[in-house]
Symmetry: C2
């Protein structure tokens, strides 16, 4: 199968082999050395000196950890949402009793840093801003550096508002400069650019966020960041970790650092560009505002009259290519091609060629070129 969903990404053989390692004592010296090594490598990947913790949970669990650790019931929160995952981040904050104000964009569009600045200026009592760096549901990457700048410029002496970033599907594929941009809590998930199966989330936590954490009244135990930080200092996790995924992450980080982060980012940029060009050459339309096109996933508008379920089934059954469909308001309207983690141009060529012939067999004829 050519698995071309935007996560889980296929895993290289070295990583699959690591998953099959026998269990070890998670409180023993071998685990301690590994957890210490992983924490340091994740800090390098996050480009941060902030604490980084690893929780056994999927990306959504990581987002909940971000909220539960720094947002208290009644806190005013600005949700900057450009799709399903932005809405999910806001829903979690709402579940924890935050008063959420929403700034949303049409599917395919990025957030406007100017509008964020205005919203923050209009209400200085906003305690946190939630933003999705890379919105997988629409294949748009937000201008995070610019959004972070306006949040920084609006900060009061208490360090408020905090900036909480869903970097689940960007980190390890697209540069995220945690320290340079002043990002307070940043979340990623193992099944994306890291090339590891799902089940681990990573969070970086700034000094400002730790201050908010100390006074945060939201209930938390499993996701309690302070317990994770304190355990990590001893080479442990507070609860039994998903050891197999830790073994895999250990190999993955070594592979990614051997490739070099800059090379990883440029490979993603190159393959993404190759994908977008190929889609257009098939006579298909891209959903995203191309100034903010994602380097990890590409959303393609389904041509008029093509049934997306039938298309995806045909691709899977006849061509061995798995694409994702649309979510929420985009269900039935787009297909999404994942190009993150273990990916090269050849995977995309194969997927696009399959897409072209599947569409043809469903009756689609590309518009004549001018």
């Amino acid at each position: 199968m050519n698995l071309r969903t935007p996560g889980p990404t296929p895993c290289p053989p070295e990583i699959l082999a690591a998953l099959g390692r026998q269990m070890i004592d998670h409180r023993g010296p071998e685990a301690a050395a590994m957890i210490t090594r992983l924490t340091a490598a994740l800090q390098r990947a996050f480009q941060t000196r902030n604490d980084v913790v690893i929780v056994t949970a999927s990306g959504t669990g990581g987002l909940e950890a971000a909220v539960a650790n720094v947002i208290s019931p009644g806190d005013k929160v600005l949700s900057v949402s450009i799709g399903v995952f932005g809405d999910r981040f806001a829903a979690i904050a709402r579940a924890y009793g935050a008063e959420v104000m929403s700034l949303s964009s049409e599917p395919g569009h990025a957030a406007d840093p100017g509008a964020v600045a205005e919203a923050l200026a209009a209400d200085p009592s906003i305690r946190a801003v939630l933003v999705t760096h890379n919105e997988t549901s629409t294949s748009v990457t937000n201008p995070l550096a610019d959004i972070a700048r306006v949040v920084r410029e609006s900060r009061d002496r208490d360090g408020s508002p905090l900036l909480l970033v869903d970097a689940v599907s960007s980190m390890a594929s697209i540069p995220v400069l945690v320290d340079e941009w002043g990002l307070d809590v940043v979340v990623s998930g193992s099944q994306k650019g890291w090339m590891v199966p799902p089940g681990l989330a990573f969070l970086s936590i700034s000094a400002r966020a730790w201050k908010a954490n100390a006074r945060c009244t939201s209930p938390r135990y499993y996701f309690d960041a302070a317990r994770h930080r304190d355990a990590a200092a001893k080479g442990q996790t507070p609860w039994t970790p998903a050891l197999s995924l830790f073994f895999a992450l250990d190999v993955a980080l070594e592979m990614l650092e051997r490739e070099g982060w800059d090379n990883v980012f440029s490979r993603h940029a190159r393959v993404a560009e190759f994908t977008r060009r190929g889609v257009q050459e098939l006579g298909l339309e891209l959903l995203a505002d191309q100034r903010f096109a994602s380097n990890t996933v590409t959303a393609v508008r389904a041509p008029e009259g093509v049934d997306v379920s039938a298309l995806r089934k045909l691709l899977r059954d006849e061509h061995g290519v798995v694409l994702a469909g649309g979510q929420g308001p985009l269900a039935g309207k787009i297909v999404r091609i994942g190009h993150l983690g273990l990916v090269a141009e050849s995977d995309i060529s194969e997927a696009l060629s399959a897409l072209g012939s599947a569409l043809a067999s469903l009756g689609f004829r590309p518009p004549a070129r001018v």
Copy 2:
């Protein structure tokens, strides 16, 4: 290494192989068939017709899911704790704002069902009882059937109090009759008798618990049981699951059902008895009240003058045997031998023989027999 901690348990080769399977689309038909199959097999293992959900988290996450789904801030809760894991369950309830009353026992002793009955009779406003079935920190198995009976007998017309059971380290090794005993929320974890690496928790939820869930005001999102139940009905999980561990669980459940649950339980009972006898033959003392000795782990009192850290290091470095130490008030006072999941008498013979010679080299001489 002969890993003899009370979890993670070593995994059989078939399960290690399954962990190395390539990723699949977690929303596709193959995943749906697997999730449906796993859910049904877990219901058989739990001996229940209640809903069973799988969350990507360790056992502690499962305990938090139990609390967050049915206990609201201000609820009165009776914690029946006989050790570290009982205390942890209570701490989670406290973190969620419950008013926790504690009924605790000396390390090594089981809970007294009569005392539970008295506590419930004394305060009819208690909404939930928290109990650890098998307390790993002291190697004691509580008389859960009797505790469940007194809880049932104290229930009012609204179904209160609920009985929440930490069966993390018992289920799949020791019989837990969820329906027959009327257990409302029961939690287990993959790294125990299931022979799967850590990272998955399983919860069964009774009709009474669903009623409490519907009016529960605790914040929850990642662990929201209703979302898990609704997704499972479609062969999905609400968030990306730890697929590798699902593959492993699929193989594990097939192996366990092939062995037959009764045989699995009797193997654990037999190996546990073998362990306890062997420990005593070494001239060592058992911690637990032997009427309630656990069939998954055995706590052994460290002989006077023996340094437990030195003993464990010697066992690991010179004999390739990993035992657990004591936790909380028992740190430095006991070693614990795990015998759950992948275990046979030969593993225990090897561990006990290593224990005997390591103790001898640390100067321990068994007391003369009478």
